[in-house]
């Protein structure tokens, strides 16, 4: 028995050792990374951010020989994960997939860290919010919808993906800019149940990313009235933007890959190169597009500016909302 046990121990040890050594034997002209990279996702597994991060990690394997291990840290609404990511060693082996909430939560006194605690690498997605209504609704354009809303202040039930989320802010921004008044119905379980409630006829409109309802849009059950991006989305070419219709609203739910702030330049350069290539990889783009997400590749200064802009904008918007 003892002999058998020790044999098994030996086999186990051997497997482990082989497993470890094969990792370290890999070489490439690029020195970084020499070991597996940990990617903290401050969200539960299965959500949009999580799946995007997993996709990014999977396609980044083409650029490097090491693995990228996705670790979900959703406690405290993701704040614990972001705090841990910002405090990680500045060696480039711990990255964090932050979301637009990084620009929102600090204004609600819910996060001790903000964008200044991170060095952004790339944002593969920046999904705009949109206003969607059932296909059989009496209005076909945003103007008609807003007119209807003006005549019935507080009567239109607009669903969002939870109170204080980016899509809640989106419908508040619409109220703010157009002077209408909605009844906000938060679905803290996420966007999908809100869309289901819209299809089931329990809501008058929802404010979520258009991609999440791609199946219903294509099947003609839901129509998108307008989206809150700067330019039209190639995935939904017929849908006008709020800007085109004369309302200056840009709300985007981005997810950005970050290293901790003040990570040394040479490491940042390697990281930028790896993930810039990955986010430009046509296969990775196709992966996002198929899920109804418009791939973007915001990086460098542009990304820094976007995050800072959003940080300031939501600061003002949230001040008025008093959440």
């Amino acid at each position: 028995m003892k002999k058998l046990a020790s044999t098994i121990v030996f086999i186990f040890m051997a497997t482990l050792l082989i497993g470890c050594s094969s990792d370290s034997s890999a070489t490439k002209e690029n020195k970084f990374p020499e070991k597996d990279i940990t990617l903290i996702v401050p969200k539960a597994p299965g959500g949009g951010t999580d799946l995007t991060a997993r996709g990014l990690a999977e396609y980044a394997k083409k650029q490097i020989d090491q693995n990228i291990v996705v670790v979900n840290k959703p406690s405290g609404n993701g704040v614990t994960g972001m705090v841990e990511g910002s405090k990680a060693k500045k060696d480039g082996y711990t990255l964090t997939m932050t979301t637009v909430e990084l620009a929102m939560l600090p204004h609600m006194n819910r996060s001790p860290v903000d964008y200044k605690d991170f060095s952004p690498i790339v944002a593969p997605i920046a999904d705009p919010a949109s206003i969607m209504v059932p296909a059989d609704a009496p209005y076909n354009t945003l103007e008609e919808f807003l007119e209807h809303a003006k005549k019935n202040p507080g009567k239109l039930k607009v669903g969002n993906s939870g109170v204080g989320t980016i899509f809640h802010l989106a419908s508040v921004a619409v109220e703010d800019k157009t002077g209408v008044k909605f009844t906000h119905v938060p679905y803290n379980e996420g966007s999908a149940p809100a869309v289901a409630a819209l299809v089931g006829g329990h809501l008058d409109a929802v404010s979520v990313a258009p991609g999440i309802a791609k199946a219903q849009i294509d099947a003609g059950k839901i129509k998108v009235l307008a989206i809150m991006s700067d330019e039209k989305l190639p995935l939904f070419p017929e849908v006008p933007t709020f800007k085109e219709l004369g309302y200056d609203i840009t709300i985007r739910a981005w997810a950005a890959l970050n290293a901790p702030a003040d990570t040394p330049d040479e490491i940042m350069d390697s990281l930028n190169e790896i993930f810039s290539k990955t986010s430009k990889d046509p296969e990775f783009k196709k992966f996002l597009e198929k899920q109804g997400i418009q791939p973007v590749e915001i990086e460098g200064e542009e990304l820094k500016n976007m995050i800072e802009e959003d940080h300031n904008y939501y600061g003002e918007l949230l001040k008025d909302m008093k959440l």
């Binding site: 539960a44 997993r54 840290k73 406690s75 819910r110 089931g200 329990h202 199946a215 099947a219």
Partner: protein, 497 residues
């Protein structure tokens, strides 16, 4: 239809597909049996693998995990009273006592058999009734969810054992714990005492593991673990359920499968709620309700059938409408879209062969689940032969690792230990534990849908009674709660007269 079926068969009955489904089910059973590893986690981890698999092959693997995990939870629940997932909590109510009587093999056989039948039943529902069921599922708005939560909570009265009062107190505490964190309607923080951890709410899985597994372990330690304690004699006589058991469980399995298929189709609900409802209905309609909680075969079959038929039900809104009902189906939706298959009405007209492929694969997954389940009964029951002084620490490690890996947060481990220590005293005071868990699961659904309904009706309470499904469910709750009492009164008066 015929050529589509043929195409589907040639698709599914390839070596790769069969292997992949088999592996999926195997991984699913392991994930399900280990507390702390959730189905969502397993499916999310294997999601990237599906990119590299042709067509629906990868989706079949995820389906295999989904089916296997629903069943796996019952194994640890029956053998160790450590539910692998919330749905298995009620399976343990009768499964664990039966195993303690030395009939672990019988309990596992019943749970395997009823899980398989439940899964198959839901596959048939998916194939033949999908569009109809989808329409019903969409009728569920906030008032209906509220009514469903109330209906689910009424089970507390039937699983509280010796003291209904203590069960209700446990329920109130569970409902309270569920309110900790950000309020779902206003976003205000409640009872967080300015801590970051509590802002996200108390994690559910560590409490489940603590209250059940950890406290159970402490109880067995107290009962004594020395040599003088008589070991449970595990004699494995059969791995297949007896004719008698099959006969006894026919109706509970049918009822459970029906409940599970419907609950599964309603977005936002899951196997746990289905299992609670099914157990409750079976006990209420049983001629011998006093046998429940002491190892009644029906008490194992009903929740297991419901738990597993949820999988087929959840595929209904996913495939017909493209609406995922839970996180697992959300990932499956993503995997389908990566393959260029967009669920929704168009999928049925444009890719009927793929749809039939999914159906066939789904049935195959259930068959594998039954086969693997029966094969595993012998080795799994052997776990009970491990001496308690060794088994106990091993379970403790599983508790710790399981609580940690849920959110990768060490605080969850501390929560688990605290919940377990409290649970130990609750057990000593004859407190039933399951009501706390049930209230924790249903609490958020109850409160947020109650308030969401009133936001929508602008404060008009009649919204709950003006809608047929919600009014019906509330009425049903009142009937199941007070019906038996009134009926007994009525009968007494008759006999007096």
């Amino acid at each position: 239809m015929i050529e589509n079926l043929m195409a589907a068969f040639s698709n599914v009955f390839s070596f790769t597909s069969i292997t992949v489904i088999f592996l999926g089910v195997l991984v699913g059973i392991i994930i399900g049996a280990l507390p702390g590893l959730t189905t969502t986690m397993g499916v999310a981890l294997l999601f990237p693998l599906t990119f590299n698999l042709e067509g629906i092959t990868g989706i079949l693997m995820l389906l295999g995990i989904y089916c296997g995990a629903g069943y796996g939870g019952s194994i640890s629940s029956i053998l160790l009273n450590t539910p692998g997932n919330p749905g298995a909590v009620v399976t343990g109510l009768d499964g664990y006592p039966m195993a303690q009587k030395g009939e672990a093999d019988r309990a596992l056989a019943i749970s395997t058999y009823s899980s398989g039948v439940g899964g198959m039943f839901s596959a048939l529902v998916l194939i033949f009734l999908a569009p109809l069921l989808a329409t019903v599922a969409l009728q569920f708005g906030p008032p209906e969810f509220f009514a469903l939560a109330i209906f689910g909570l009424s089970i507390i009265t039937s699983i509280s054992g010796k003291s209904i009062l203590k069960g209700l107190i446990g329920g109130a505490i569970g409902l309270f714990i569920a309110t900790i964190g950000l309020d779902s309607i206003t976003g205000m923080t409640r009872f967080t005492f300015d801590t970051m951890y509590l802002m996200g709410g108390v994690s559910f899985i560590p409490i489940l593991i603590g209250l059940f597994a950890f406290s159970q372990v402490l109880m067995t330690v107290e009962e004594g673990v020395g040599e003088n304690v008589e070991k449970i004699k595990v004699k494995i006589q059969r791995v297949l359920p007896t004719k008698e058991d099959i006969k006894k469980t026919n109706y509970p399995i049918f009822q459970g499968s029906l409940i599970g298929s419907i609950i599964g189709a309603i977005p936002g609900t899951g196997g746990d709620i289905a299992a609670f409802l099914s157990y409750n209905q079976t006990k209420k309609s049983s001629k011998e309700p006093e046998k429940f909680g002491k190892g009644a075969p029906e008490g194992i079959a009903a929740p297991e059938a419901a738990n597993n038929s949820v999988t087929g039900g959840a595929m209904v809104p996913l495939l017909t409408l493209g609406i995922p009902g839970d996180t697992v189906t959300a990932i499956i939706l993503g995997a389908l879209m990566v393959q260029g298959l967009q669920p929704g009405p168009l999928l049925f007209t444009e890719h009927p062969d793929q749809i039939y492929g999914i159906y066939t694969g789904f049935i195959l997954a259930n068959i594998f689940m039954i086969i693997l389940g029966f094969l595993f009964i012998r080795p799994f029951t052997k776990v009970l032969n491990i001496p308690k002084p060794i088994l106990t620490p091993i379970i403790l490690v599983l508790c710790v690792v399981g609580s940690f890996s849920m959110n990768n947060d060490i605080i969850d481990v501390y929560i688990m230990v605290a919940a377990g220590f409290i649970g130990y005293f609750l057990l000593k005071l004859d407190f039933p534990i399951s009501p706390i868990i049930i209230a924790l699961v249903l609490g958020p659904m109850l409160e947020s849908n109650f308030r969401r309904s009133l936001v929508m009706s602008q404060g008009d309470y009649s919204i709950f009674m003006m809608r047929p499904i919600s009014a019906g469910l509330i009425l049903l709750t009142v009937l199941t709660l007070f019906g038996p009492i009134l009926w007994n009164r009525f009968k007494k008066r008759e006999s007096h007269a």
